[in-house]
Amino acid sequence: MLLKITCKLLAAVSLRRHGAVVRRGSTMASGSETTRFDFLVIGGGSGGLAGARRAAELRANTAVIESHKLGGTCVNVGCVPKKVMWNAAVHAEYLHDHGDYGFDAENVKFSWEILKAKRDAYISRLNQIYRNNLDKAKIQTIQGYARFTDEPEPTVEVNGRRFTAPHILIATGGQPSVMSDDEVPGASLGITSDGFFELETLPKRSVVVGAGYIAVEMAGILATLGSKTSLIIRQSGVLRSFDSLISTNCTKELQNNGVDLWKNSQVKCVSKTDRGLEVTIVTKDPEKKNDEKVGTIEGVDCLLWAIGRKPNTSGLNIGSLGVDVDERGHIIVDEFQNTTRSGIYGLGDVCGKALLTPVAIAAGRKLAHRLFEGKKDSKMDYSSIPTVVFSHPPIGTVGLTEDEAIKTNGKENVKIYKTSFTPMYHAITSRRSQCIMKLVCVGKEEKVVGLHMQGLGCDEMLQGFAVAIKMGATKADFDNTVAIHPTSSEEFVTMR
């Protein structure tokens, strides 16, 4: 039944309370009435949904506010559709290899339209699954944009309806950053990764701007599926925050895969012609400071900005709430996801730390256990988070880079093990790519603090190693593990 609120509930929730009062859902209330929940989640993405569902399991009366589709970035314009596209691109690579393995698959054509239809259908199914999961958990879904009111008790307004809870979670995620037309004339003629998933046809000529993992993945997918692709990066390599081995190797692999790489370059302006976009690029010679070259790419039908992401906080009106943000607008939280305002929490991409679905999910669940199960110490551990980049071939990385390890431990205390080889799959193919691996070890006991790799199968290899590294595995533990033959992953336990 609807609970119209005038009374004040305790801010601290005790377990006993949950069974006592049944407050479920709400109906339309007049403007002055506020619907009260135990837990109000703003943002129906990975983190918000995980937190909400866990809270509901712990018998908290929960609502989720979502302005768009359930599932957030990951499901709609991130991990999931990205991996579908990557899988399609992997098939392109397999098709190269079919002849070498004895199959006569020839005159192959690619239909972006078929793929997009299938991908969209799959995403819709996932949206529905998320909706069903919320309904099953008796979590109310509120459709619309959330905005904090100026009332003394934190209150959220959605389409004129007001909601509050002693615990409000902001998990609104982020969105791709864009260049303004002031910064780069014609910049708005381009799209972002969000727009990439709306493309109805395979672009013939693509220009991707950026050196982060999204730029690398997008450029890789486009190029492998057959779009002539240029990648514009400001410095000399991609993935500069990754271990230098990965950065260097990935830069090389992009070029091996036919991506036209523009190093030390920036887009100066974009203009529209009858043959598509014309992208003007300035390239600086890193040696000679004032030496600039200007080049153009013509006939571009897809200019994709992948220059970073920014938090979704603009419409929330958190300024008046006393929730502090950093200089880039990320909500500042402590290790327990507390913001600077009591009773308000933040997690996931909106906080700008480890922008990854599983991190947000884990943080959301930990928070729910803390708030509704009384587990005071329940918090997310942000150390040693494994990450995969779905480049061609994929990258897997966990822990410290070599440089980071040296910085914290001193060069004399860091030992590096490296290997590179041709995966057996390529033993009989004319198309080849190397697999590179690196272990970063620290101290006398050679504790493994970092593991980095790029190569076929690295995406599926990483998870188990991440468990071991989190457990504090040493190089000796790696050596004591018997290999699985023939795999690529066995090289990690046979390194010398």
Binding site: A88, G102, K118
Partner: protein, 537 residues
Amino acid sequence: MLYCHTINSLSFKSQDCFQFLLGFTTPPNNNSVKPHFSCPAFTTQYCLAGKCDYDLVVIGGGSGGLACSKEAAQLGQKVAVLDYVEPSAKGKTRWGLGGTCVNVGCIPKKLMHQAALLGAAVKDARKYGWQIPGTVCHDWTTMAEAIQNHVKSLNWGHRVQLQDKKVKYLNLKGSLVDECTVRGVSKAGKETILTAKNIVIATGGRPKYPTNIPGAMEHGITSDDIFWLKKSPGKTLVVGASYVALECAGFLTGIGLDTTVMVRSIALRGFDRQMAGLVTDYMEAYGTRFAWNSVPKRVDKLSSGALQVTWTDTETGCEHKDCYDSVLWAVGRAPETKTLGLDKLGVQLNEATRKIVVGADESTSVPNIFAFGDISEGRPELTPTAIKAGKLLARRLAGQSTELMNYDNVATTVFTPLEYGCVGLSEEEAERRHGEEGVEVYHAFYRPLEFTVAERDASQCYIKVICERGGDQKILGLHFTGPNAGEVIQGFSLSFQCGATYPQLLQTVGIHPTCAEEVVKTHITKRSGFDPTVTGC
């Protein structure tokens, strides 16, 4: 894999180099001709006086033998390795240095498995928007030649490595004369005698034929032949249900051949029963035929050239017949102990298996003689265990270490169409050791993202984490069926080796979207009876 890297850096053609090295049967120590003594007592003293030809002679140039000999040589020992391949019974197939793994095992098997995966990928690709005209056919010869050439390059790579590491390679069939003397016989019958302080036997095993089935050996082939066939085996009957049988049947099905597996009782004996069932269920759905509870009776070659197999269904007692182009026996492997001269020296063998009885330090019942790998009793028949055991043995023999091989926690992967990787105990074994109440099983049926758009059935993609129920929930066994199981399970086997507990698994952040992340997300216990199907992200 290591080898591939080495090979790539070689720019010359392997065939030419083969010619150069063939016929290397002269005794070692070219600069000093030494008399050879056959009196055991004398040779022992001779060796103790440091006057043996070698510190170590290894009989068998397979994964284990090569690893052992190279390691010993790197530790400054003077080493020779003898390798000789008896042609296979039916196909008279021969191969080069490297043993089962390289020539007639892991390597060609995995490559044919890759070919089969590509066959399935063609079907998936269509769903991913790739328009591939007509039906896609597979040409055995193209695949087999490519694989055979790769294997030959590996043979060559092994030779180069031996040469680089100063291990004397002798293409001789070795047998024991006494505890420090080995006789090597060349293909032409020429004899060479070598003395050594220590002798290591690592001659591995070969596929068995059934003894009481008329026509079995005459008309059937084994895994020693299948990878070296010049033309497609065509419609094939695989007899047996070991991992070798299922892997062969799997890749044959995958490249489009009509394939039947004949199973006497159960598949994948020794593995977790539930997982074995998932593996064969997937194969049946994938197109492999299974003749369960069936025992072959005879094989006859018809005038058409077809092989007519007669078998009995042990449940109904009925007799059946069908014709095949090839019959592949995968009914087990036997150790290569017969011609080693072991009986004469009193090297103890297991009565039933005829394998060499060994201690924890790979010692046999005769001093100075050691054995490991597939030929030794009770050891896993796996390349990596042989390699590791060989290296450790070499270090001990060189006096550099006392470390023993740890045969526990060995992970393995079966490269069937749906790969199956595991480490630790099966559910049955865990319950036997800890009691049903002492074991908690977390499990999940998951759907690989690559299967969704491809509209592939994922009913057999399953994960099972078997833990101690009490205490800190130490993991006892971990099982995974799905794409890339081999790559998935290795890291988990490392954490298993480190003594991972279930909470430690859960504390690790998942990698999204992968199949491997489902392992760290398992949370439904079997005991609860809740639906273990994963939904959403």
